[in-house]
Each structure stands twice: as structure tokens, then as C-alpha cells.
Symmetry: C2
Subunit: 248 residues, 2 copies
């Protein structure tokens, strides 16, 4: 572990990333498990450099921890409780990993880490099928969990996920945000299933395409011939404005 407290971070502000993906008709979140004794799960988190936008910090943390870059990012909530610190978490971690605080530097790190932090929550939308998340050295594993089967995480991270889902739902109506969860090309049925999954309600199959298409953000491509003995659906593409599409 490097000396984190002296790298020019803004004090007492942390960034937390809820990374959404979509697979098997389920909304999933990418959660790393820390490489320590004791089953600690935690959202990819980090701090903000003095000369860095918080948006940039979220992107950097995401890439460092998962290898994922160039994704859609949205800040959704800032957690500001005075009691918000990682002392409970770190004490439990140290209890189960006795050699963690074996020198003066690390003890100073402990003090730094366990102060009260204001946490800025970001959610990311990625194309799970195209993205290969790679754990880095501080993680034991990194896995996609369906939103209703996320392990117990440290601090308020489970609450952050809940708030992220709520924001995602609210944003679905106003912004054309959902397409970021789909692969480069997709069928209208896949779009509908995605909306039904996230909003937990079903839509009529005849009106849904009309409503989506009149957003005027989808490009219709050629049909998708799968070899199956049925009518081939059209493929659509969501031309991404700023970001290039995600290729791990």
C-alpha cells in the first residue's frame, strides 16, 4: 500500500462508483471484493486530486480499479453525514488482518482514512458484454451482481447503490440514458426488455417502438439474421455523442 494521504488529494472528500451493467435481463452492479481476510466488498472508491474535476476523478478511479474507460457517468448523490467514516470497517479489517498496521506510516494512513469523509456518488453505465472488468492488486475479485443480490458492503455503499438505482430510474424518463447499457447494436425487443427490467414494469409491444423511435436518437441498421426460423428483427444503433464506445 502506498502513502495515500500525501498525494495531493482534497481532504475528506471521497468518490464512489456504482457501475451498472445489463445481462440476462438483469440489471447488475460491478463490485470488487477486497484482498483481505474477512469478505469485505466495497464500491470502487477513491479521492480527488487538487487539480482534477470530480468527474475526472470518478473516471480515473473507475479505470484504475476495473480497466473500464470511456463510459457514461452521472453524479447522483452526495453523502454528508458527520458520522460518515470508515473506522468501523477498518477496525474490523485490522482485527482480521493483524499485520496491516505494522509500521508508523501505516498507522498514519489509518488516521487519515478513518476521518469523516463526504462521499460523492457516481453511477456509470457500461456495455457489460463488451467490457472486461479487470481487478487490480488491491482486489481479490471483481464481479457482477444482480441488483437484488448484492453482498453486504462496507459503510453506506449498499445505500449508495439503492440511491443510484432510484436516480437511474428517474433519469430514464428525461434522458436517453439507457442505451449506454446495451451493446453497439441491439434489437427493439432488447431495448424494451431493458426498460422493463430497470423500471420493473411491462410495456405494450406495439406502442413501445414508436415511443422510443420518436426520440430520434436511434439509427436503424440492417436486419439481424440469426439463422432462426422466424422473421428477422431490425438492428438499431445509438450513436454516442462525446464518448467513443467502450472497448475495454
Amino acid at each position: 500500500m502506498h502513502i495515500i494521504s500525501q498525494q495531493g488529494y482534497i481532504q475528506q472528500v471521497s468518490i464512489h462508483c456504482v457501475i451498472f451493467g445489463y445481462q440476462d435481463k438483469q440489471l447488475k452492479v460491478l463490485v470488487p471484493k477486497l484482498h483481505f481476510q474477512g469478505d469485505f466488498w466495497a464500491l470502487p472508491s477513491g479521492f480527488v486530486y487538487q487539480d482534477e474535476d470530480t468527474d475526472e476523478a470518478a473516471k480515473r478511479i473507475l479505470e484504475d480499479r476495473t480497466g473500464i474507460k470511456d463510459v457514461y457517468l452521472e453524479s447522483f448523490k452526495t453523502m454528508g453525514k458527520a458520522s460518515r467514516n470508515s473506522r468501523n470497517f477498518l477496525d474490523r479489517l485490522i482485527e482480521l488482518n493483524p499485520n496491516t498496521l505494522d509500521d508508523e506510516t501505516k498507522r498514519r494512513e489509518y488516521e487519515w482514512f478513518t476521518r469523516r469523509f463526504i462521499g460523492i456518488g457516481y453511477y456509470a453505465l457500461v456495455d457489460l458484454n463488451n467490457v472486461v472488468a479487470q481487478k487490480n492488486e488491491i482486489d481479490e475479485s471483481i464481479e457482477w451482481y444482480p441488483v437484488n443480490a448484492i453482498p453486504q458492503m462496507i459503510m453506506d455503499h449498499n445505500q449508495l447503490v439503492d440511491e443510484a438505482i432510484e436516480s437511474l430510474r428517474a433519469d430514464l424518463d428525461r434522458k436517453r440514458v439507457a442505451f449506454h447499457l446495451l451493446p453497439e447494436t441491439f434489437t427493439m425487443k432488447e431495448v424494451q426488455e431493458l426498460y422493463e427490467t430497470i423500471l420493473e414494469k411491462s410495456f405494450a409491444a406495439n406502442n413501445f417502438p414508436k415511443r422510443v423511435l420518436e426520440l430520434n436518437v436511434l439509427e436503424r441498421l440492417k436486419k439481424k439474421f440469426t439463422g432462426a426460423a422466424n422473421k428477422a428483427p431490425y438492428l438499431y444503433r445509438f450513436p454516442k455523442q462525446n464518448e467513443s464506445s467502450v472497448k475495454n
Copy 2:
């Protein structure tokens, strides 16, 4: 001016309050003007004590600067640009107010104030008719401005107001938030005009009451006899859950 930099604040985090009121069928924002040469308007802003929730800080700042307390508060946006600092503003202020930096303490304050700050935006909803906003000593005046006639403020404060309005509109649908802008008792027509003002669209007069009433949050009181030669409308009350209603 006291020594602000040493009072146990969280470093580089600021709070900004957009205070909404409603009067004369207009949505208004309460904006103080600083007691300095040079026409500086700025949202009521401040910092967060180490042992204080950010929500508490927003409440405290609101009360210190305006005398208003016990209002509905909602955090709506966190501004995180690396370039976000008040150096331009303060340099202009010092230029126009030469005696501002006349001792060492104040010069140190200047350094503290002009660092990069992460700004947490809150909006408050108050009953403008019942609330008497009181300027404190650092303000020259404090006034209600219609949202489309707000003076040019410092830093990104105008943008904060725009984002606050957007959030307020989005929240109107999901939460029963608007009643906080009305007096203790009000007629259905007043509710409708409020919604029409904020959302900038009109509603049919027959269904609107039905939709509002089936929220089951309003209490119908006796009729309102104004002495005018017409049918007296019913008065309604919004029983506030946690907060007591605002009396300056």
C-alpha cells in the same frame, strides 16, 4: 470578519443555498448582496464543521444569513470542477475595496478562501409570505428576485440556480414538495397556479383538484369568505410532517 480558516471546517467543501419562494404568481429566489463596493451578489454560502452533517450546515447557513429556519431542504447537485474557486471574484472585490487585505490574518484568509472548493448545492422551499428574511452584517441587502430576473452572481451561482430549478421541477412529480412554498392555508386555485408557474404549463381546472387531492396529503378546512361577491373557495392545509411551519 472573524478568522474563518481555523474554525474546524472541512477543507475545500462549501455549501450553497438556493432559497425558493412564491409570490405574485412568480417563483422567486432570495439573494443577498454583499456589503462591499462593487455590486456582488452571492447565494447564501458557507462551510461544514467537522462534526456537522452537510444538511445541518445548510440549515445553519440559511439561518445565520437570513434568519429563516425550519424549512424544507433538498440537496440537488455537487459542483466539482477543478477550476472552481473564488479567486476572480475576490480579486475583483479587493480591487474595488482596497482596505480588505490590510493585515496578515486577512491575507491568510485570502489564501484559504481562494482555494478550489467542491460546492454542494441545496435548495430550500419557504413560505415567502410568512418569512421575514433578515440580512446579517456581511450583507448590504437581501432580496427576492423572480427566477428570470436574478442579477449576475459570483462564480457559478447562477448556474446553481438553474440546476436547482430543474431539480425542483423533477421533484414536483415524485414528491409532494410544492406545498412548502405556500402559506399555512391556501385554495386549490393557488395550488394550481403554483404548479403552472413552476412547470410553465397550464392544467385543466376540473381534473387538477382531483389529482392533487388523491395524493391524500391535504386537509380540507372551512371555506374562505373574502367578502367578494362570489362562491367561497375551500381552504386547504398541508400538515407538515417533521418540520414545524415557518414563523420567521
